[in-house]
Amino acid sequence: MKIKTEKKRQRRVEILLAALELFSQRGYYVTTMPEIAKKIQMSVGNLYNYFSSKEDLAQAIIQYISQMLAEKIHDVNNQPISVKEKIRQIVKIYFDIAADQPQMIEYFLRIYLANREVFSDGCEGMICVAPFMTEIMVFFEEGVRAEDLRNQDFFSAFGLFMGYLGGMAFLKGENVLPKELQSYSDEIAENIYRALKSDGAPA
């Protein structure tokens, strides 16, 4: 029974990753459930045993990405390192994913943010990205508590941090950047730190 459950869980992840790739490449509306089933050599009927609709699948993907990012940032939050170093590591995590698994970031920017209607029932507000948002909030809150970051509205700081990273990943996706994304990592981390640090924090 346990083996069967584990196998089912693995199969579910395979579906998520296959659908993620198709949605990111071709867009949400163009991609069909039969195409997703075909990509993982599964019958359409069986696919519906895992996900009751395309919307359901799309929502599960964003939850999967959010959870994966949250676990990585959670590890950074739990390390006894400076805020500056934490920023450097979070930037690295984001850019490594953007370089190695660009479909993850593409999905977030081009599917999740661009097709809010798909996520309006079940993914209201930030619900489906809650694990990721929670870790980012913990990062900011602890930074302010330690007096390393300047106290301000959460979204002012969040927009500067994640908007910056998302913007760079978007430029990379558009093939506008002359260099590899990761080569900007240190400078961008430095910029983010300088913009967010408190007056008394180390340079």
Partner: protein, 291 residues
């Protein structure tokens, strides 16, 4: 008829607030029948403070109101602390009425030499700490009259009062002020009151309410039998806790928009996840003001 317990009410550095609050106890006529008040500063008793200072009276309960200051606060010709300490040694039970007597309170904010009886804020180093074992703390600013009635009656009936780490009765201080707050639905869905004295909305998110992490029964044993601060649209200011008062009582301290103090015992990640979900929904019924 059994002998009435003898109560002596002495004051340290105080504003008289706890005395005034006590006078509002609905059972006051019965209390005066059941207890023998040797001395109280605000109502007529058989003795004056001068005679209390001059002679040694046998008492059962010493009620202390106000913070303790070892020197420089004379009453009836003697240092108030000297008098309080004398009767602390005689009394079988010491009841600290209000935050000043319990932890130092507002008096301590004005003079750092002031302490509570058993405690000096969180530390068990009050000027009467050696009598801790017979001290019951009833912090509040002021004390709730019903809390004092409870302690007196428990004593009269020979009942043991279970106490917490700050020697507060668990029966009265075992839960938070948040319990029984009529604004809890607004707290759940993260809808702020956006003002004081209004009927709808929660006062925790922006207006400094300390109810979710303050021990007390203000919303269960109502004030005057009818209301409480939060019910009237004023934030709980944490007056039952050691260290009271903090600063900026009417605004919530936030770190990047996140409350600096979490509801009691709630891990930060759990709080952030729950509130993140709650605020994703717009509940029309709660958003709309009725008045």
């Amino acid at each position: 008829m059994a002998r009435r317990p003898r109560v002596l009410w002495l004051q340290g550095v105080t504003c008289n607030g706890d005395s005034h609050s006590f006078l509002n106890a609905s059972e006051m006529p019965q209390i005066l029948e059941k207890f023998h008040f040797v001395y109280h500063p605000l109502f007529e008793t058989g003795y004056t403070l001068e005679s209390i200072a001059k002679e040694y009276f046998d008492i059962d309960i010493l009620v202390i109101e106000g913070g303790l200051l070892k020197k420089g606060f004379k009453r009836a010709g003697v240092e108030s602390f000297e008098l309080i300490e004398r009767y602390a040694s005689i009394a079988k039970q010491i009841v600290c009425a209000g935050n000043c007597a319990s932890f130092g309170g507002i008096s301590r904010k004005m003079d750092r030499n002031v302490t509570g009886a058993a405690f000096c804020e969180q530390e068990p180093t009050g000027l009467l700490a050696s009598y801790s074992s017979k001290i019951i703390n009833l912090p509040g600013c002021p004390i709730h009259p019903q809390w004092l009635v409870y302690a007196l009656e428990m004593n009269r009936h020979g009942q043991t009062i279970e106490l917490d780490e700050f020697r507060r009765p668990v029966e009265l201080y075992g839960y938070t002020v948040h319990e029984g707050c009529t604004r809890n639905e607004y707290f759940e869905w993260k809808i702020d009151a956006k003002g004081f004295g209004v009927r709808e909305g929660c006062l925790f998110y922006e207006h400094g309410c300390q109810g979710p992490f303050t021990h007390g029964s203000c919303n269960k044993i109502l004030w005057g039998g009818v209301s409480s601060k939060t019910r009237a649209g004023m934030p709980c200011i944490g007056c039952t806790e050691p260290g009271f008062p903090s600063t900026n009582l009417f605004e919530t301290k936030t770190l990047m928009s996140i409350p600096a103090k979490m509801p009691l015992g709630v891990p930060k990640r759990a709080y952030l996840t729950m509130t993140g979900i709650a605020k994703a929904f717009k509940i029309e019924r709660l958003e709309k003001k009725k008045f």
